[in-house]
C-alpha cells in the first residue's frame, strides 16, 4: 500500500531538491509554530471565558452561565480548522525532518517483507480518513450527550 501521504506532490519535490531541504524545513517549522501559537491563544481565551462562566455560577446567574457555557463550546469548535491544518503541517514537518536524515529510505521502496508496517497517521489510505479521525473528536459536548446546534 502507498499511503496517501506519500502521494503528496510536495513530498516528491522535497525528496528531489536536496539543497533546498533545510530552507523548506525552516519554512514548515514556522508554519507549525504560527498555528500552534494561534491554538495557544485560543486556549488562553477559552480559559478566560470559562472563568466568566464560573463567576456567573457563583452569583447564581445560571441562565447567563448556561449561555456563556454554550459560547465556550462554540469557541472550542471554531478552533477546529486551525487544528486540522496544524495536524497536516506537523505531519509534513516531521516527515521532512526524517527525510532530511542521510540514508532515509521511503516506505514505498523498503523490501517487500516490510510492506505491512504500520505508520500510524502516515498509513491512513486517504486524507479523508485523517479528517474522519479528527472529526470523531471535534465536539466534546456531543460526547457527553449535549447538542448545542
Amino acid at each position: 500500500m502507498i499511503p496517501w501521504f506519500y502521494s503528496i506532490e510536495g513530498l516528491r519535490k522535497f525528496q528531489k531538491q536536496k539543497r533546498k531541504q533545510e530552507k523548506k524545513i525552516h519554512e514548515q517549522r514556522d508554519n507549525v509554530n504560527q498555528q500552534r501559537m494561534i491554538l495557544n491563544e485560543k486556549a488562553d481565551a477559552l480559559k478566560i471565558s470559562a472563568k466568566e462562566v464560573s463567576r456567573r455560577v457563583n452569583r447564581g446567574d445560571k441562565h447567563r452561565a448556561t449561555e456563556a457555557m454554550m459560547s465556550l463550546a462554540f469557541d472550542l469548535q471554531n478552533a477546529e480548522p486551525v487544528l486540522t491544518n496544524y495536524v497536516n503541517n506537523l505531519l509534513l514537518l516531521r516527515v521532512y525532518e526524517i527525510m532530511h536524515l542521510e540514508g532515509y529510505v521511503d516506505p514505498t521502496t523498503l523490501p517487500e517483507a516490510m510492506a505491512d508496517i504500520d505508520y500510524g497517521l502516515y498509513s491512513l489510505s486517504t486524507e479523508d480518513e485523517l479528517r474522519d479521525l479528527l472529526r470523531q473528536a471535534t465536539d466534546p459536548l456531543a460526547i457527553i450527550g449535549i447538542d448545542v446546534k
Partner: protein
C-alpha cells in the same frame, strides 16, 4: 520492474561493494538510532504534558468548575495530536532503523553462507512494527476523560427551562 529481493542484491555485490554497503548502513543505523532516541524523548515530554493537562481537567471537575475543565480540552487535544504525530514519525524512523539493521544482519548471514528466501526475511521483521500504532491511533479518544463526568457536566448545561 520489480525490485530484486534484498538477499539477492547483497549476494550479487562484489566484496568491495559489500564492504562499502556495510559501512554505509552502519552509519545510517547510528543516525536512525539517535533519531529514535530523540523521538522517544519528545514523546515522553508530550506524555508528561498530557498527564498534567488531564489532571487540570479532573481537578476542575472535582471542584465543580466544569467550564474550566472544558476550556482545558483544546490544550489537551493539541497535545494528543502532537502525540499521534510523533508516534507516526517514530514508526517511520523505526522502519528505517530496522531496514539498516536488516541489511547488516542479512549481509553477515550471507558471508557466513546462510541461505535466505522471502519467508526467512519476512520472519525477521518484528511483529511489533506491523501492529504498534493501529491500536493507539484508533483508540484515541480525546474526550474520554469527559465521559467519566458525563452526569455532572450534563446536569450543569441542561437546556434552558430544564435546569430551573
Amino acid at each position: 520492474m520489480a525490485r530484486k529481493p534484498l538477499w539477492q542484491e547483497i549476494e550479487e555485490m562484489s566484496p568491495r561493494e559489500r564492504v562499502n554497503s556495510v559501512k554505509q548502513h552502519n552509519q545510517n543505523l547510528t543516525r536512525f538510532m539517535t533519531a529514535t532516541s530523540e523521538s522517544v524523548d519528545k514523546l515522553s515530554v508530550i506524555r508528561k504534558a498530557i498527564k498534567k493537562s488531564e489532571k487540570k481537567i479532573i481537578d476542575a471537575l472535582e471542584r465543580d468548575k466544569q467550564a474550566e475543565a472544558i476550556s482545558e480540552i483544546l490544550r489537551l487535544r493539541v497535545l494528543r495530536v502532537d502525540e499521534m504525530v510523533e508516534l507516526s514519525a517514530l514508526s517511520l524512523i523505526r522502519s528505517n532503523r530496522f531496514y539498516n539493521k536488516l541489511v547488516l544482519d542479512v549481509t553477515r548471514g550471507i558471508e557466513a553462507n546462510v541461505k535466505y528466501d522471502a519467508e526467512s526475511i519476512q520472519s525477521m521483521v518484528p511483529e511489533d512494527l506491523n501492529q504498534l500504532l493501529s491500536n493507539s491511533v484508533e483508540a484515541t479518544d480525546f474526550y474520554d476523560i469527559l465521559s467519566n463526568y458525563k452526569g455532572k457536566i450534563r446536569e450543569f448545561v441542561q437546556p434552558e427551562g430544564d435546569s430551573e
